[in-house]
């Protein structure tokens, strides 16, 4: 089961193979968690990760093997993150302020360093989310998924040079975006 590809496991899981489903779940739990962490306030990471896996079980039959399993799964991750922010905005709550509020709920007195760290995190998250999708994706693949540039090139069907070039442009775009976010604070 461990040697099976994601797509093979997904096919078995669709047919009701519980073991195959859990093999996929264990394979992706940490990666999904990492990806969610990059875009969601720390106190909401577990909830959103759970929502992702619930959505995965419920929409498993919708995976039609036309794309790679991880591409399909990360679409669910992005959709759940978008839903999270939509719910927050509908409730009129600002995720940035939530970080401070939750510190109070936990009866921790936030220090100046905590505030700075939370602010910095928020600026980074906002900058990252405002990048084009393919820039976000390559940064997440290297940092959150821990894939090497060679593995990314293979997965995307691109040359190593093309991937490194795209990565460089993503980092440069990130710097520009951080400049804008910081000046907006």
């Amino acid at each position: 089961m461990l040697d099976a590809s994601d797509e093979q496991l997904a096919k078995k899981a669709q047919l009701g193979d519980k073991e195959a489903f859990y093999a996929l779940y264990n394979r992706y739990l940490q990666r999904v968690y990492n990806r969610v962490r990059t875009k969601v306030p720390p106190q909401d990471v577990e909830d959103v990760t759970q929502e992702v896996f619930i959505a995965l079980v419920r929409s498993l039959d919708g995976f039609q093997q036309r794309s790679r399993f991880n591409t399909w799964l990360y679409t669910i991750v992005n959709r759940q993150i978008a839903d999270f922010y939509r719910r927050r905005n509908r409730g009129g709550r600002n995720p940035a302020l939530e970080m401070d509020n939750d510190s109070e709920i936990e009866f921790e007195i936030p220090t100046t360093a905590d505030h700075e760290s939370a602010d910095q995190r928020l600026v980074l998250q906002k900058a990252l989310m405002s990048l084009p999708e393919h820039y976000q994706e390559i940064i997440a693949m290297r940092f959150a998924d821990g894939l090497t540039f060679a593995e990314i090139a293979e997965m995307r069907g691109q040359s190593l040079e093309a991937v490194k070039s795209l990565y460089r442009r993503s980092i440069q775009a990130m710097r520009e975006q951080i400049g804008e976010e910081s000046s907006g604070l």
């Binding site: 009701g16 990760t49 896996f53 619930i54 079980v57 290297r142 940092f143 821990g146 070039s165 980092i171």
Partner: protein, 155 residues
């Protein structure tokens, strides 16, 4: 040419340098940016690494999520076996449609006057309970068929 092209648009030494710096950062090896541009981008790499540095899923959360996944999986399997779902499958819908059509045609055939009897006039002696009985028999057959289908879906 766009970002998805397989050939690099403007491959430069900076591409390799940034990639190498990122590898060193992730592998916790020291590095020294060689170019001015790389030095400018180093804080961004460090910030991204800080934001995305791997934090293991806690055991408490993993257990909670496992439990929830068990529930979701059980629910999924149960709903896959439900009769409603059985009739959602294209085969079941096709079979049901075919059965309904057969029933309608047979009923029409039984009730329609035969062409040979059109020019005849007179009184038919006897009752039509035989025809009604046949239609009811076919209807019952279809119901039994549907029942078996539902029963098999529940197993």
């Amino acid at each position: 040419m766009n970002d998805f092209d397989t050939k690099p648009r403007d491959h430069s030494p900076l591409d390799d340098e940034l990639a190498a710096m990122t590898d060193s950062l992730i592998d916790k090896r020291g590095f020294q940016p060689a170019s001015e541009q790389a030095r400018d981008l180093e804080p961004i790499l460090r910030s991204l690494h800080g934001l995305m540095v791997e934090e293991k899923v806690s055991d408490a959360f993993a257990s909670r999520l496992n439990l929830r996944m068990e529930q979701e999986w059980t629910q999924r399997q149960r709903s896959r076996r439900s009769p409603q779902r059985t009739f959602l499958s294209p085969t079941a819908r096709l079979v049901s449609l075919a059965a309904a059509l057969v029933l309608v045609f047979v009923t029409i055939l039984l009730w329609a006057p035969s062409p040979a009897s059109e020019n005849l006039s007179g009184t038919v002696v006897g009752d039509s309970s035989g025809l009604i009985g046949a239609a009811m028999l076919i209807g019952a057959g279809v119901l039994v068929f549907v029942g078996i289908f539902i029963f098999r879906g529940r197993k």
